[in-house]
Amino acid sequence: MTRHSKSHRVAGALAWIAALAMFFPIAWMFAASFKTEVEAIATPPLFVFTPTLENYREVFARADYLGFALNSVVISLGATLAALALAIPAAFAMALYPTKRTRGTLLWMLSTKMLPPVGVLVPIYLIARETALLDTRTGLIIMFALSNLPIVVWMLFTFFKETPKDIIEASRIDGASVLQVITVVLLPLVTPGIASTALLSIILCWNEAFWSLNLSAHDAAPLTAFIASFSAPEGLFWAKLSAASTMAIAPILVLGWASQRQLVRGLTFGAVK
């Protein structure tokens, strides 16, 4: 065995260990969703048990899963589209026509993510109340789009910077407007980057819990609120919570798997030159 192939095998084994360690909580949650409440909290933990669908039946009976899921889909897609619509021109300008203040602006945008959300809960709640956006999908779409905007801009900025400037300049010389440069020249070149940014934004929106719990009640409540309704301070709830969580993450897990090739391609876009 050559030294090269040996190190490859070690790296492969380490990757498998890391992947299994990361996947274990999901696998354990999935298994717990088929246990009874007593089995779910048994010590030592049970690896062999008779599976039951009772938790799923109970979860379906108690909550309108499809209503929550529809809200999650609409809010995640809406917020991602809104964030992209704002971020693409911003990233285009900063990546291809930088000024002295571009770097500072980018860092300032990112710094807004460092603020604990609870610090601005009351003002944002009051704004939402005054604008009748409490418990509406529109309110959550605006909130999620704005809270993910710094990350979306940063990612797109990185992708746009990798685009050869010569192509952009050539199209400008040929008489293309800024809008045409973006839509006809730039976007096809960075489609993998935009796709992976969009996927990441959807995942972030789907999993966001703080604002969705605080700004929604019934009409706009997404799946994070659905999960929260199965946690209890008094009483056993692990099995039902596991069933609810499995149902909540299933769509995004499927989306992630289905698009993993695109996601990896986008995330490594321009990494090797």
Partner: protein, 435 residues
């Protein structure tokens, strides 16, 4: 206009009036067994009134934060709130809740235990109606006590509890003498710790609101708690709250457990507990005093002042906390599942007494818990496992973290209490209670 037309118009008008009076109310509630039962049975009220209900079910701490934000900013998202006996008088005094004194005579306010009514009132006005109430007491394993030749007294002392725990601990069998809450939080470890301190003769504040966390009773109580759990408690105790201890006790790992009376129905449930036929229960332990040694808590339903559908909301409350509702739950779900601790009529019901062997002890514990006299010496506050002032959530959680740190061995008990005292004093100064 012809008579048939007149009749048709009248019918339409009546129908329109019916539609107009039907309302959709939004209820924010916690996810526990009694509330889930209420959710399931609420279709009966919807059928009777034509109104509909939107349910927002959240975990207790999330719910508390959510409804506090909404009510403080007059958000008007909810028509009914599930709140506890801690928030009710504070929010009532702020004018955030509607008074609930005008229900029909059949509601029979006097059937609700006076202590429960008082806990949900401020300035003589009732601001929430109780859904259920609980105290704390001692659960123990009769089989282990019998095997060790021990007898649990009707009113055990903390010294006796420690002696029993020492004798019944067998770590080789994962059998622990005592299980107590260790997870930090004002509603977690501090719920038990407050009753312990009360029993040792301590208190949060003197009559001038000066904190007393470095006093001799506090030091004795926290040393007792830390040493007892180190000797006889389960591993990882700082991660254990109500649910973790319920799981440990239900699976036979605890000889004793001091916690909420509401757990009685859960550990007696054969489908969920492996020790259902081996459980005994007795009063919460005491030390130099019995004052404040069993806590008092009630989950109650209130109507925020910002609700635009107050009439429908009050109509639901009158139904969900009535004698008829208790009867409905008993007949539908079985008598052990009725909401406990609120009404005398529940404890006069032979069906309930027969089905719930713990009923009399729970009632005694609830009636003994006097929130107006929680300590050995006079104090300026009400509340047994909490102090009914708005600042207490923050204070209780911070002190709970110091107590948990002492339990985890990260600092000594003296250091933890010194830091807790300094933090509490600072908060009370900032809030203007003391200079």
């Amino acid at each position: 206009m012809r008579i048939p037309h007149l009749l048709a118009c009248s019918t339409l008008l009546a129908a329109a009036a019916g539609v107009a009076s039907a309302a959709t109310i939004t209820i924010a509630t916690v996810n526990n067994g009694d509330m889930i039962t209420m959710q399931k049975l609420s279709s009966k009220w919807e059928q009777q009134t034509g109104n509909t209900i939107n349910w927002v079910v959240l975990e207790e701490n999330v719910l508390r934060q959510r409804v506090t934000t909404d009510i403080a900013t007059k958000g008007g998202q909810f028509d009914i709130l599930t709140i506890g006996s801690y928030e009710t008088p504070i929010w009532g005094k702020q004018g955030w809740l509607l008074t609930l004194n005008g229900f029909p005579a059949s509601y029979d306010y006097n059937d609700i235990f006076k202590g429960v009514r008082d806990a949900l009132s401020a300035n003589g006005k009732l601001y929430a109606v109780p859904f259920y109430a609980e105290s704390s007491f001692t659960f123990y394993r009769k089989d282990l006590f019998d095997a060790a030749g021990l007898k649990m007294p009707a009113k055990p002392t903390y010294d006796e509890i420690a002696q029993f725990a020492d004798k019944l601990t067998d770590k080789s069998k994962e059998q622990y003498g005592i299980c107590l809450r260790g997870k930090a939080g004002w509603g977690e470890n501090m719920a038990f710790v407050d009753t312990l301190v009360n029993g040792f003769g301590g208190q949060w504040f003197d009559m001038k609101w000066n904190p007393e966390l470095t006093s001799a009773p506090w030091k004795a109580a926290i040393n007792y708690y830390v040493n007892l759990l180190h000797r006889d408690g389960p591993p990882g105790v700082t991660g254990n709250g109500f649910n973790e201890n319920l799981a440990l006790f239900s699976t036979g790992h605890c000889a004793m457990w001091i916690d909420a009376t509401v757990a009685a129905g859960m550990v007696f449930d054969k489908t969920k507990s492996q020790v259902a036929d081996k459980v005994g229960f007795t009063a919460a332990p005491h030390g130099v005093t019995e004052h404040g040694t069993g806590w008092f808590w009630s989950w109650a339903l209130a109507v925020p002042a910002s609700s635009k559908k107050a009439d429908a909301a009050k109509s639901f409350l009158a139904w969900a906390t009535s004698k008829d509702y208790v009867k409905l739950v008993g007949e539908t779900n079985g008598w052990t599942g009725v909401p406990p601790g609120t009404r005398q009529s529940t404890y006069d019901n032979p069906n309930y007494i027969k089905a719930a062997p713990f009923a009399a002890t729970v009632k005694t514990a609830i009636l003994s818990a006097d929130i107006n006299h929680p300590t050995k010496n006079p104090v300026p506050y009400t509340g047994i496992q909490y102090v009914a002032i708005p600042e207490f959530q923050g204070i209780g959680t911070q002190v709970g973290q110091f107590v948990a740190a002492a339990l985890a061995g990260q600092m000594s008990v003296d250091d933890a209490l010194a830091k807790a005292q300094a933090a509490t004093k600072s908060t009370m100064q900032q809030a203007g209670y003391i200079q």
